[in-house]
């Protein structure tokens, strides 16, 4: 009896240890982590039984910080690591290695009832900095513009500031949302709303995508970089990835992984 218990306990401990060994901790970008990475993880698990994932999508900043702190094997980021982050990583002996996993276009969205169909880059900058506060100034039917942005830990928040706003500050009246889906939902409910989301989130109901200087975000315009808010998205690792992290990264950029990326709404690596 005691021997049976001992064997059972050892077996459970072994299984548990195996489970810990096959667990992949991924932290970072909501743009990547809300849809794409979970779907990749499901497919990966189907091919690698026993693998478990711990995915936390709380913004690119948290993903890069997790690589620096060693609390994740993969850091998802929709922006490049900042010099200060790279400097902090170097000080800790961490080598921040970026791998492009897909491309994205930051889509500017408005409520589908909004008569405005396109904006110029200048108008986008003016709206999000608060210089223009009424829709009538950009060809709309009037009404105070409600601005929805991501929170400050978001890579999209930083990227949009750099790509669309000449690094200027957001309007003081802008409302900070936790993720792309929240922005899409708010804009979908608010006829005066405007926000930005990754391409994967443009199919939400009640919203429409603005063309910017006459260009809509698409596979072609993102690859050709003719869409002004096109960007790569990354996995960050500490040096060259190994083990499970490498397997998952390889799967992400494989044809199968890129097919999932395209299905989710990202622009695959050419």
């Amino acid at each position: 009896m005691k021997l049976t218990h001992l064997i059972t306990a050892l077996a459970l401990a072994f299984v548990s240890a195996e489970a810990r060994a096959d667990k992949l901790v991924i932290k970072g970008s909501d743009t990547l982590g809300a849809k794409l990475v979970p779907q990749l993880a499901e497919q990966f698990k189907a091919q690698h039984p026993g693998t478990t994932f711990d995915i936390a999508a709380e913004g690119s900043t948290t993903g890069i910080a997790a690589i620096i702190d060693g609390t994740a094997q993969i850091g998802m980021a929709s922006r490049r690591a900042k010099p200060a982050e790279i400097s902090a990583a170097t000080a800790k002996g961490v080598h921040m290695k970026p791998t492009i996993v897909a491309y994205d276009g930051i889509a500017v969205i408005v409520n589908s009832a909004n008569p405005v169909k396109s904006l110029t880059k200048k108008q986008v900058e003016q709206i999000f900095t608060g210089e223009v506060a009424d829709w009538s100034a950009v060809g709309g039917s009037g009404g105070r513009i409600s601005i929805y942005t991501r929170n400050t830990s978001s890579g999209t928040y930083s990227d949009f500031k750099e790509l669309a706003m000449k690094k200027r500050d957001y309007a003081g009246t802008s409302q900070k949302m936790a993720g792309n889906e929240q922005i899409a939902a708010e804009v979908g409910k608010n006829p005066s709303g405007i926000g930005y989301v990754g391409l994967a989130y443009t199919k939400a109901s009640g919203i429409k995508v603005m063309s910017i200087d006459g260009v809509l975000p698409s596979d072609q315009s993102v690859h050709a970089k003719t869409y002004p808010y096109a960007r790569p998205t990354f996995y960050y690792t500490n040096g060259d990835p190994s083990g499970l992290a490498k397997q998952f990264l390889d799967f992400t950029i494989s044809a199968a992984g890129q097919k999932i990326a395209a299905q989710v709404g990202f622009v695959p690596i050419p």
Binding site: R80, A81, P83, A84, I86, S87, T90, H95, M96, K97, P98, T99, I100, K166, K167, R168, K225, P232, F234, I269
Partner: protein, 493 residues
């Protein structure tokens, strides 16, 4: 193979340039171009970009963090060490002075530091900040050994010499507010070069380019952070003429009244209501510079100065010393009053080149239209003609690069009631009016950053029946004769 070559080249160039983050960004543009040309992939570019950023982040420059709205920033300044001797002589018969022509002499070893940053910001804003030694508005010098205690530091403080911001977003217009470099075209006769007026300035400048034999064109100008302007080049023509028109307006807070509205009724001093309004000096300048064909120019820039309000420090009638009094009594008469000043100044300059050597002939003329009243208030109603000041001089050479040299000389005359004695240069004529004399200066550039300068000034009282108004370093009034010698070693960066 070719791709690997380009990745290596990109990395090499980038890392070579990567000593500062700005260069890393330059290399980033190169990477983008290589990707666009399909010579490397995005992934390869990202890896090189990461290396560059990592390299830049480990350098001293890479550790500086700049606020995002800063487009450009410049650190600049100078350090100067100086030996100076100045001396003044009393009049022939000054009560209380034991003999004629008694001399007061001061020899000083001095230094100054000016350290500033200035830059341009997003959306056509700019700013400037400069720290300076000395609290004196007309001097940035600190005298060695002039402290409490041996090698003390009581006189070695740094103060805000300039702190200003401005806007250049309107074509041809530059707006500045704060404590700023003097925006006016002027000379030492009227404004000491160390004065940084406080208030507002509006500057407009537009250039007209004329090409004879090939039509005419008009070109706008933009102001850079150092107030220099850059004209857009036009096609070469046989003979060209350029006309710069400019307007400089200044509203400078000369003296703040505190409080503007005191408790109770306004009090009086010596029968005059105590002031309750700020005192401003308003400057109205319009000028033109004609350049033809490229090395010859003539500039004239008349400026009218008016004063408003009372302030609480300068609201007394100017006397400026008195012949026949003891030195102490003469000096105790009012030296700083700014009553009855309506001054028109007309600085001008003619320049040309002899081979590559710049030559300039310059001058200034000023008249106080209210000198009659100022003289009367000073107790000399018969001296209303003491209203003029003028300067004429010439210079050759410049001090821009190593082995450059410069020589300059000018003559200056200032009547007792012609100018504001609180603004005139503090060195060559000891901050005085009613004095005339000559100044000679020579300079040599030991290196691109280091210059050695010698200056000599000699002045004597102009109207011997009056004092020499103003508060200078030589405690004599009337100051019958005055001499100054300065030897400067200046490091500019």
């Amino acid at each position: 193979m070719l791709r690997n070559y380009f990745v290596s080249v990109a990395a090499f160039i980038g890392l070579s340039l990567g000593s500062i983050s700005a260069h890393a960004q330059d290399a980033g543009a190169l990477l983008d171009l290589l990707v666009k040309k399909k010579l490397i992939t995005d992934q390869e570019a990202e890896e090189v970009r990461g290396e560059l950023t990592r390299e830049a982040a480990t350098t001293s420059a890479g550790k500086w963090k700049m606020s995002a709205p800063i487009n450009e920033i410049e650190l600049y300044g100078d350090i100067r060490v100086r030996y100076e001797q100045r001396q003044g002589t009393t009049p022939d018969a000054m009560p209380g002075v034991p003999g004629p022509n008694d001399t007061l002499k001061r020899s000083r070893e001095r230094y100054r530091l000016r350290l500033g940053i200035r830059g341009s910001l997003a959306d056509d804003w700019f700013f400037g900040l400069r720290l300076e030694t000395s609290t004196n508005p007309r001097s940035t010098n600190v005298t060695f050994g002039d402290d409490a205690g041996t090698f003390g530091k009581t006189s070695d403080g740094a103060f805000i010499g300039q702190a200003y911001l401005g806007y250049t977003g309107i074509r041809d217009l530059k707006l500045t507010v704060g404590r700023m470099p003097n925006p006016l075209v002027t000379t030492l006769m009227v404004w000491d070069a160390d004065i940084n007026p406080e208030g507002m300035a509006e500057q407009w400048k537009h250039s007209y380019n004329f090409s004879f034999g090939g039509g005419a064109s008009t070109t706008g100008e933009t102001y850079s952070k150092d107030s220099k302007s850059t004209a857009v080049a036009t096609a070469a023509e046989p003979w060209k003429l350029k006309l710069d028109l400019f307007v400089n307006l200044g509203q400078f807070l000369y003296d703040d009244a505190n409080p503007e509205n005191p408790l109770g009724e306004r009090t009086s001093t010596a029968g005059r209501l105590n002031p309750n309004s700020d005192n401003w000096i308003l400057a109205w300048q319009a000028g033109a510079k004609l350049t033809f064909p490229k090395d010859i120019y003539f500039q004239v820039a008349p400026v009218l100065y008016t004063y408003t309000g009372n302030g609480d420090s300068f609201n007394a009638f100017f006397v400026g010393g008195q012949q026949g009094l003891t030195n102490t009594a003469s000096m105790n008469t009012n030296q700083i009053g700014i009553n009855s000043l309506l001054v028109l100044e007309t600085p001008w300059e003619f320049g040309f080149k002899i081979q590559e050597l710049p030559v300039r002939i310059f001058g200034d003329f000023a008249v106080n239209f209210d000198a009659d009243d100022r003289a009367t208030a000073a107790g000399h109603p018969d001296k209303g003609d003491q209203r003029y000041a003028y300067q004429i001089g010439a210079g050759i050479g410049q001090l821009k690069a190593k082995h450059d040299w410069q020589f300059q000389a000018f003559w200056q005359h200032t009547d007792q009631y012609a100018l504001d004695p609180n603004l005139v240069d503090s060195d060559f004529f000891d901050s005085r009016v009613n004095i005339q004399g000559v100044v000679v200066q020579a300079g040599y550039a030991i290196s691109d950053a280091v210059t050695f300068n010698l200056s000599y000034g000699y002045g004597r009282r102009s109207d011997r029946s009056l004092g020499t108004g103003g508060i200078g370093d030589i405690g004599i009034n009337p100051l019958d004769k005055y001499q100054l010698f300065q030897a400067d070693l200046n490091v500019k960066f």
